[in-house]
């Protein structure tokens, strides 16, 4: 079915993408968290490294100025030489530290680092000439030079490095802000995705519920249709049965009352004709007798046909005479001994009850003669206050009711059910077969036109 196929496809696709979305959300959330963690760690590490570089820079500057003071204020040439070497070493370290810092520094700090570089260059350019001074010059001008040139410059340098540190701290703060912003956007992303997933799931659920309801409704409709169709089928089959019965009754009556009567009259007239013929005309007499035999045979055929269609006793005399006739007929034809026990059944059962019981018994007897190898059949009809019970029991081989549910048995069931009765077959193989039916007598029994 087209609708079923497409909605199944939608449900597959819907649930599939819902699950896919959930997996995607989990994966991307995990990745975003990793990213945030990584960048947060990088920011912190960069800050710490630069802070460390700045500290070392400051320490080197301090040390170089202390070395320089020792160098300028002490006359000992050995010590001065050592200090000078240390100052030169420190200068190299500072230069290396600055290079390193410049490499790591964020672009906002470039100007400040340039300024620091310049001041460091100036500072060391102030320091370098001093290193060539001899001991006298140092003792003469050293203290003054320190106080007027070096210390202010050193102070300035320290201030610049403080500024850089402040910028770094700011950088850290802004890095944390960035991380927070990333977090916020991630959270928004998660919220949006969750919202979207939820809405999608809701839509899917509504769609699925809708489809299920539609299908339920459809199956309900189908079920009612099936029930109605079955009901109609029952009614149709009941109508067919009653139409068939009516037709048989009419045919039987027509054959019996019209053609049969005419044939009888014909026979009488043939007899009269025979009496009128001269007795000496033997040939003519013989031909007349042949015609009469033919007509007599026809009457017999006619009567049998009429009884076969519907026995007149059923309408003329009632159920019990018809059943007894049927029993005698079966006994005559098949040799099976059929006993009918139906003494307390009123003749004036409603027509359809009589017909139903008669036809069921007829079919049961027919089955018994054909399949059962029975030698005795007992037909019992009992009339209780509100129902008629019929039982046909034979002593044959029985049959598997579930397997051999032929048209005959179906027809019996159908007839009984149409009158609101119940129908049972009790037939374990080897124990004979018993067919029972019970018909409720709801309406007042109508009188039957009895002869």
């Amino acid at each position: 079915m087209q609708i079923g196929m497409s909605s199944r496809a939608v449900l597959w696709a819907g649930f599939g993408s819902l699950l896919g979305l959930m997996v995607l959300v989990a994966v991307s959330a995990n990745r975003a968290l990793n990213r945030i963690e990584e960048s947060s760690r990088q920011i912190r590490r960069g800050f710490l490294e630069r802070d460390d570089l700045l500290d070392r820079l400051r320490a080197n500057l301090y040390r170089s100025s202390i070395d320089l003071r020792d160098y300028l204020l002490h006359a000992d040439p050995q010590l001065a030489e050592r200090r000078r070497a240390e100052i030169q070493h420190t200068e190299q370290e500072v230069a290396a530290g600055l290079r390193q810092y410049r490499k790591d520094a964020p672009p906002q700090e470039t100007a400040a680092v340039d300024e620091l570089q310049r001041d460091v260059d100036i500072y060391f350019s102030l320091v370098e000439p001093v290193l060539t001074w001899d001991a006298d010059t140092r003792s003469a001008q050293g203290a003054d030079y320190l106080r007027t040139q070096i210390f202010p410059r050193r102070q300035q340098l320290l201030q610049i490095s403080d500024r850089i540190r402040a910028m770094d701290a700011q950088q850290l703060a802004s890095g944390e802000t960035t991380v927070a912003a990333v977090f916020t956007s991630f959270r928004r992303e998660v919220v949006i995705t969750t919202l979207f997933t939820t809405l999608f799931g809701l839509a899917l659920a509504f769609f699925a519920i809708g489809r299920v309801q539609a299908l339920e409704g459809e199956s309900d409709t189908r079920y009612r249709e099936v029930v109605r169709a079955r009901e109609e089928l029952h009614q149709l089959s009941a109508r067919l049965v009653s139409a068939q019965e009516e037709e048989r009754r009419n045919l039987s009556r027509e054959l019996h009352d019209e053609i049969g009567q005419s044939m009888s009259a014909l026979l009488v007239e043939l007899g009269n004709l025979g009496s009128a013929l001269p007795p000496e005309n033997a040939a003519l007499q013989e031909r007349l007798r042949a015609v009469k035999r033919l007509a007599e045979n026809n009457v017999v055929v006619l009567r049998n046909l009429s009884l076969l269609l519907r026995p007149s006793m059923l309408d003329d005399l009632g159920l019990v005479p018809a059943l007894k006739w049927q029993a005698r007929e079966v006994a005559r034809r098949s040799g099976i001994k059929v006993k009918v026990d139906a003494e307390d059944v009123p003749d004036h059962l409603p027509d359809e009850y009589r017909t139903c019981i008669y036809r069921v018994v007829q079919e049961a007897l027919h089955n018994a003669t054909r399949h059962s190898k029975a030698t005795h059949v007992r037909v019992t009809v009992t009339h209780e206050q509100s129902r008629v019970c019929v039982r046909i029991q034979d002593d044959g081989v029985g049959f598997q009711a579930s397997q051999e549910k032929g048209m005959g048995i179906l027809g019996m069931e159908e007839r009984v059910r149409h009158l609101g009765g119940s129908f049972q077959i009790d037939s374990g193989s080897g124990h004979g077969a018993a067919i029972s039916m019970q018909l409720p007598l709801s309406a007042a029994p109508e009188a039957v036109a009895t002869l």
Binding site: E269, G271, S275, M313, D316, P321, A331
Partner: protein
């Protein structure tokens, strides 16, 4: 020779005409009237009081069985012969219970009617040979089914005599006169034989007698 006065009732005019022809060939028969349904038949019998009424079993307005019952009530001296196409015993029994003395199949009416009329006029019962044969056959089969010996053997000679006379339509008083016995003895014998045979009514007794070939 006294005439036997006969009335005919059948809804088929052709049948009536044919039967009339059959009857009129007998010098001592006279057809006193015809009726085409049960009501007319009853009226005809009341008007003409024939000796014998030959009547179809199935007629409009009032069927033959019902008409026979009414005739029996209104004019019991009229012997009724039923014409029928049904050979089954249930119809025969029904006709006998309604008071008919003869039961003829229509197909053999032409050949048996004369004998039937003479028999019932003489106070005897009459059945078409085909009917008698069928009744006997069915009875034999029933006996075999029940596997009991012939109940007729149970009767004494006296009881068999009484059976035949009663079946032939004699009243207890007539039987007593014929056998030169008291009415009381006859009644006792009759009660006994009915009990032995499991019979309850005179029609059943007649049917039994036919089956046994006691009467024909």
């Amino acid at each position: 020779m006294s005439q036997i006065r006969i009335a005919l009732a059948d809804d088929h005019a052709v049948m009536r005409t044919g039967l009339r022809l059959v009857l009129e060939r007998q010098a001592d028969f006279s057809v006193v009237g015809e009726a085409s349904d049960g009501r007319e038949a009853v009226a005809l019998v009341q008007r003409e009081t024939p000796d014998v009424l030959v009547m179809d079993i199935g007629m409009p307005n009032l069927n033959g069985i019902e008409a026979a019952r009414q005739v029996g009530a209104a004019a019991p001296q009229v012997a009724v012969v039923i014409l029928s196409m049904h050979s089954d015993e249930s119809y025969v029994l029904r006709a006998l219970k309604a008071g008919a003395r003869g039961y003829l199949l229509k197909e053999s009416a032409e050949s048996d009617l004369i004998a039937a009329i003479r028999a019932v006029h003489a106070g005897k019962a009459f059945f078409s040979p085909a009917v008698s044969r069928m009744l006997v056959e069915d009875y034999v089969r029933q006996l075999q089914d029940r596997e009991i010996e012939d109940s007729y053997e149970l009767l004494t000679t006296r009881e068999r005599e009484i059976l035949q006379l009663v079946a032939e339509g004699k009243s207890n008083k007539e039987v007593a006169a014929i056998l030169n016995l008291s009415l009381y003895t006859i009644e006792t014998h009759r009660g006994n034989l009915m009990e032995k045979l499991g019979l309850h009514t005179v029609p059943e007794l007649i049917l039994y007698a036919v089956r046994k070939g006691v009467i024909s």
